[in-house]
Structure formats: C-alpha cells, structure tokens
C-alpha cells in the first residue's frame, strides 16, 4: 500500500496538465477529488492516469453526505470504490457533515447537529465504510458558520465520539479548527490538544477570508494565514509526522506559486518534527 508523508497539494484542473507534462515537482503527494474523475472518460481521467506511479495519490470526497438521514447513495459508493482502486489511494476521506436532504443534493458541506442521535448514525456508517470502499476511511472536521439548533454535545465530544465509535481516522483540517475558533470563540490549541491525535491520518491547511461582519469563511482562496501556520506547527509538534496537504480551490495562482507555498510548508513541517522528536528524546 502507498504510504503518504511530507507535504502534498490538492490536485486541481487549473494546473493538472502542467503537473503531467512538467518535470518532477517537490511535492510529496497529490490529493484528488474523486467526484471530478468518477463516472467519466476523456481528458481528465486520462491525465490523472499519467500521474499514477509518479506521485502518490489520495482521494478526498465531497458528496458522500454521510450525516444525512438517508443512506449514502449505493451507486455513488460503487463508483467511488472503483475510483479509489484506480488511484490506489491508501485511504479515503470525506466530511463529517450532510450535503443532501432526501433527494435534494445541496453541493455544500452543511453542519450536523451535534447530537447523540447523529453521533450514533454517522459512527455506524463510518464503521462500515472501510469495507464498502476497500480502504481505511477517515472523516474531516468541517467549518461551520452556525450550529443547527441547540447542540447536545460540544464539537470536540461529537467529533471524537464519532471517531471512537467508528474507529475511523481523522482528517484534521487545521484551518477549519482556526476558522471555527474565531467564529465560535474557543481556543484552537486547546481543541487540538484535546483530540486523540493518534487518529490523525492527514492534516489539511488552506486560506480563508473575512466578511465585513468579522465572520471567517473557509474559502480556500488565499495563502494559508499565519495563525493557521502556527496552529499547524503546534499540531505537528503534538502529533508527530502526518501528511500535510495544501488546499487551494479559488483564485488559484500559477503552479510555481503553489509549489513555493508547499516548500514553505515543508520547512515548517521539518522544523515542527524536529521539535517533536527533540521533545520525545
């Protein structure tokens, strides 16, 4: 099985061709949105195939809607499994959220009520997902701008409860923790310190934006902000080596700029792990 490590980059169509046609890049792995390649032929799957063997690939889905009341769509899961096999992804992740309401597909990551009922339902599904998909399964903590109704549980208890009950991995999005900490007023370091970091299989970082109201939005449309970099360093010093991924989905700059940002993250990654190992020693 492919093992991920170091710092990777979310693969986007904006620069896919450049990656395929260009020289080897100092990027340790690429993360792929499988929905962009599933159930289709043509140029993009052909390009992705060119990357096989040149870089490790890992899949990160968007539309499983694992938290919705309705079961995840069986046809979607079959196609997803095929795509995971094709990319030889070592694991698959999606978001701890819902993105559909009955037959309506909303194409956005919507927050689940942090309730015991939801914890049980999502955990039961996440536990099955490794068998369904043929690889280990991980859930990502999402950004939420509003909690739907009164929470029965704090976010931390809800997240860890789902992971423990399902034995799923955690895709820890550090930017999401930071954005939520600002929007909902908590200490992001305390949040991360309280997580069971042994469950972390990958870490995401991305840029965010601020609305005039002060609300932070998880836009993936800017370089990673300094407080998020600090939080990433803090996380790695606690967790030890975990693959880190840079996400950029909007206002995507040229590939050279993204590679420089990955390299800068790599320097932070190496320094953080030195501190991790020094503390361990």
């Amino acid at each position: 099985m492919v093992r991920l490590g170091g710092v990777g980059l979310g693969l986007r169509w904006d620069f896919l061709e450049e990656v395929v046609d260009g020289p080897p890049l100092p990027i340790d792995f690429f993360e792929v949105s499988p929905e962009n390649y599933m159930r289709r032929g043509g140029y993009y799957p052909a390009q992705l195939e060119q990357l096989q063997g040149r870089y490790p690939l890992v899949t990160h889905g968007l539309t499983m809607s694992i938290g919705a009341v309705a079961e995840p769509d069986a046809a979607y899961l079959r196609e997803l499994r095929t795509e995971i096999e094709r990319t030889r992804s070592p694991f698959h992740s999606d978001h701890l959220c819902f993105s559909s309401a009955g037959p309506r597909s909303l194409h956005e990551l919507l927050p689940l009520q942090q309730s015991r009922e939801n914890l049980r339902r999502v955990a039961e599904r996440a536990r099955r997902m490794s068998d369904v998909l043929g690889v280990p399964f991980a859930l990502e903590n999402i950004t939420y701008y509003v909690h739907p109704g009164r929470p029965e549980l704090p976010e931390l208890d809800f997240l860890m409860g789902v992971l423990e009950a399902s034995d799923a991995g955690l895709l820890l999005d550090v930017n999401n923790v930071y954005v939520n900490s600002v929007n909902h007023g908590f200490d992001p370091r305390a949040f991360i310190a309280a997580l069971d970091l042994r469950r972390v299989v990958e870490i995401h970082v991305a840029g965010h934006s601020r609305k005039p109201s002060g609300l932070l939005l998880d836009t993936h449309g800017a370089p990673v902000a300094d407080p998020v970099l600090d939080l990433l360093a803090f996380t790695l010093e606690q967790s030890g080596p975990r693959p880190v991924l840079l996400e950029r989905d909007n206002d995507v700059p040229d590939l050279g700029e993204l590679v420089r940002e990955v390299q800068s993250l790599r320097a932070l990654y190496d320094e953080s792990l030195q501190r991790y190992h020094a503390a361990g020693a």
């Binding site: 929905e35 599933m38 159930r39 289709r40 032929g41 043509g42 140029y43 993009y44 052909a46 539309t63 938290g67 919705a68 009341v69 769509d73 979607y76 819902f98 559909s100 309401a101 009955g102 037959p103 309506r104 597909s105 909303l106 194409h107 956005e108 919507l110 689940l112 009520q113 309730s115 009922e117 939801n118 339902r121 701008y145 509003v146 909690h147 739907p148 109704g149 009164r150 609305k211 109201s213 609300l215 939005l217």
Partner: protein, 261 residues
C-alpha cells in the same frame, strides 16, 4: 430531528431569502423543536451565508456550462434558477450534471413563456453538450477495431450525442454579448469526443443522421442504411450506398466508428 433540520436547511438555502418570520414558519413546517428554533433564529445572518454558498456553487456551474444561454436569458435566468431550486433542486452528486437537470426542468416552462426566445433551450442544450460529451465514458480498454460487416451492427464511440435542433444554434457566435438570432431550420448534429479528447461537432444530412441514429439503436449496418434511406424516401441507389460508405469512412477517421459490433 436530523430529518427536520435537513429539510429546513434545504428550504432555507434553496428557497427565497429568509426573514425572521419565514424562518419561524419553516421551523413550524418542519416540526423543529422550540429550543432549536430559538437557537436558529439567533443565527439568521449566518444561515444566509449558507444560502449564498449553495446558490453561488450552482449558479457558477450553470454559468460555466452555458454562458451564452444565461447571458441571453438576462434577468429571466434568476427567475428560473429560483424556480428550479425551490420546485425541484439538483438531484445529482456531480456539479457537471446540474445543467442537464436545470434544462430538463425548464424545457416545458420555456415553451409556454413568450418572454423566452424559442431557440434558447436548444442553445443551452448545445452549450451544455460540450461538458457532457467531454465527460462521457470511453470504450473499455483492450478494444480491438476490425473491418465493418453489413450483417453486423457498428460499434460507435460511446462519447457522442446525436442531437436535432429546430434552429441552427451551433452557428451562433461565441461572443456572449451577441444577440444574433439563429436561422430557423432543421439541424442534425453529431457531437463527439475525438481520440485526442477534444469535443467536435459535425452537421449531418438527414440521411446520415438516420443511419447514425439506427446504428446507435443497434441495427445492423445493412438495416440502418436501408431504413434510413427509406425514411428519406430514397431507394438504395448507388449514390446512397456510396454516401453511406463515405460517411462511415469519415466517422472512422474521426474515431467515432470503432468497428463491427
């Protein structure tokens, strides 16, 4: 409770801009408990953020796939976008499939709306075919082409669509600001993906379209040519047979005809 909240969220993001009153009404409609309703009512501004995000994603997907159709619809697009979201909403996991769903929803409505030009649905369909055909599945690997045979069907590339228009929308300028009207005439257009993954367009004569259509249905080559000629009121003359042979050779060169089925 999750079911109630899902439906509430869906109505909020897909429906009209929420006000404190409409939010309270939606909470009642979906039987959201008093505690949760009270919490939601304190977060109306942030709930509106989700509405912007959902609608922004979907609007962008539609705009990317049929920019000229949207431009020509002008403010009418918003009206039909709102109706699509509130009366049906996307069903697909794939953003690229939202446009065909939107067009299927609008087709009967536009037909009876005098404000919408008669050719606009065809233009939208034509534009959206670019993404649709670029993404159609390819033939399985290991397929070995062989010479055609009259008594067998013909394996066509699965990455194609044969469409018929009542207007020559494929001849309209690419310029989104153009308001030129298309010629009103019957058009049969083969939209296919080349082996180099480029989407290409080939206008077919009625006879050629008839042959391709029948081959797509699985007819043998002989039956396809015979029935297409008959439908056009032609006998199987030398000229018809020569034309069919030329069509198949041309389609083979374009990667559309792959061999016998």
């Amino acid at each position: 409770m999750q079911q109630a909240l899902e439906n509430l969220f869906a109505d909020l993001v897909l429906g009209p801009p929420p006000s404190p009153e409409s939010l309270a009404e939606l909470c009642r409609k979906h039987l959201v408990g008093a505690d949760d309703s009270a919490a939601l009512s304190e977060s109306l501004e942030r709930l509106r953020v989700y509405r912007e995000l959902v609608r922004g994603n979907l609007r962008e997907a539609l705009g990317l796939s049929m920019p000229r159709c949207l431009s020509r619809l002008g403010p009418l697009f918003d009206e039909y976008f709102d109706r699509f979201l509130s009366e049906q909403a996307p069903r697909t996991h794939y953003l690229r499939d939202v446009t065909p769903e939107f067009l299927a929803f609008c087709a009967p409505l536009w037909q009876s709306d005098a404000r919408v030009a008669g050719y606009l649905h065809e233009l939208g369909r034509h534009e959206s075919l670019h993404i649709e055909v670029s993404a159609l599945p390819s033939l399985p690997r290991g397929y070995v082409p062989a010479p055609l045979a009259l008594e067998r069907g013909v394996e066509l590339s699965p990455a194609l669509r044969l469409v018929r228009y009542c207007h020559a929308v494929h001849e309209l300028p690419e310029d989104e600001t153009s308001r030129a009207a298309p010629a009103e005439r019957a058009v049969s257009l083969l939209v296919y993906r080349s082996p180099e993954h480029e989407v290409r367009y080939l206008e077919l004569t009625p006879l050629a379209a008839g042959i391709v259509e029948r081959l797509l249905f699985g007819d043998t080559l002989a039956a396809a040519v015979q029935e297409a000629a008959s439908a056009e009121g032609s006998a199987l003359t030398e000229a018809v047979l020569a034309g069919a042979a030329k069509l198949l050779a041309d389609l083979a060169e374009r990667g559309v005809v792959r061999g016998p089925r």
